[in-house]
Symmetry: C2
Subunit: 246 residues, 2 copies
């Protein structure tokens, strides 16, 4: 005897039905109502219970399969994955999430100025040399401990920045408000020694190892909208990610 599917559908909602189903199954997994190893009802039975078509149910399940939360096997069924995937590294997580709860990370703006692009920046941002850019530099802290130095450069003709907006909505929020959409970003994670300035800002010794992350973000038209270079104290930070077999 299996549980009814933990789903209540709202056909009046603008949220697609397949998405509602996926979200509620995901919530059931996260909440512990569905446990690793649990098997779902077969697709035809699920569709019948939910009053949906089988393709719609399959589409919902596929979303969770893509997220690594469910696994399907022909002739066997659909099962909640053992060892749940933690939230994968996503585009927006590259920007500071000013959730403001508890003792989470926060950022202090060190500098926000307009500069002409030098050769390196004009190459990274695909602009003409001398093109005007925002140069944003922030110190990221956990409590009173410095965690990272975040440097970002953006074209001034794409987005307007102010210290006030950055404090309230973060860089990503400012870009979204300027209707700058990002569809993909390339990043490289590496390591090097801290410079004297970085060491001082991060309370490290000069020459101490730093974890580095350099990123170029593109919009839907393939234009570079942002270039960033971050350095982190490796004793306080590491990049965690989940890889799925394709």
């Amino acid at each position: 005897m299996s549980l009814p599917p933990p789903v209540i559908l709202d056909r009046a909602s603008p949220v697609p039905l397949y998405f509602q189903v996926a979200e509620q199954f995901e919530q059931a997994i996260v909440d512990g109502k569905l446990h690793p190893g649990d098997r779902l009802e077969n697709e035809i039975e699920l569709a019948r219970q939910l009053g949906l078509s089988r393709p719609t149910v399959r589409q919902a399940i596929q979303l969770l399969v893509d997220k690594g939360m469910l696994v399907r096997k022909r002739g066997v069924g659909t099962q909640v994955v053992h060892g749940q995937v933690r939230r994968p590294l996503e585009l927006t997580s590259l920007f500071d999430d000013l959730s403001g709860t508890g003792q989470g990370p926060r950022s202090r703006i060190l500098r926000l100025t307009r500069i002409p692009a030098d050769a390196k920046l004009s190459h990274a941002l695909r602009t003409a040399p001398g093109h005007e850019l925002w140069a944003l530099e922030r110190l990221r802290l956990i409590g009173d401990d410095p965690l990272a130095i975040l440097r970002n450069w953006l074209r001034t003709d794409i987005v307007d920045l102010s210290a006030f907006d950055l404090e309230n909505e973060g860089l990503y929020g400012s870009m979204r408000r300027a209707n700058v959409s990002m569809s993909l970003a390339r990043q490289r994670i590496g390591s090097r020694r801290a410079t004297a300035d970085e060491a001082e800002l991060l309370n490290e010794e000069p020459g101490a190892p730093l974890l580095t992350m350099e990123r170029t973000a593109y919009d839907n038209e393939g234009r570079v909208v942002e270039f960033g270079h971050h350095v982190y104290r490796p004793d306080l930070y590491e990049f965690e990610m989940t890889l799925l077999q394709k």
Copy 2:
């Protein structure tokens, strides 16, 4: 006037039709027959030209959208993405690819022994303390330059390892031959100072920064099948990845 779709379907093939379509579109993008910014025929017309149903064509397109090669927009159409995604970091790329071509990286086995699991390893591999493990340590080189020290631990009851097999097919190949399938892996990328031993092996100064990567791989049943800890010379290596907007 648009080009015919670059697709030849083989209905006798065991490869699903949607997959054939996706593969051949992808090939056309990679080969330059389709350029960034190019728009595909609309779905209905594509389906007609290919003699397929629209859902089948949509499934093929969705594969390439998920790979970040195509982008769709309601009311507008489907377009080849500007700024193609490079091959994303995948599970198997974590293991050495002994492609043996040119001056690619190669590995020298430093040690392959059976050891009883200590507390840390039994925790990482979810075994009882004392459980027998393979301890594999390799030095990875580019030409004559040491690049990385790769350490991996696996349960001896899951896979058999030999220096011969590792030289010929790599760790991943050995696991595949033992029917060990991995569906996901968690990894953390960080940085720390080199120990004296590591520094000597990597031709670095003691205390030099190293880029580190720790990984736990799981099979389809959620069991830990491998635990690895790699350290890289950051002047010779960085992790590069592409993130897609979800």
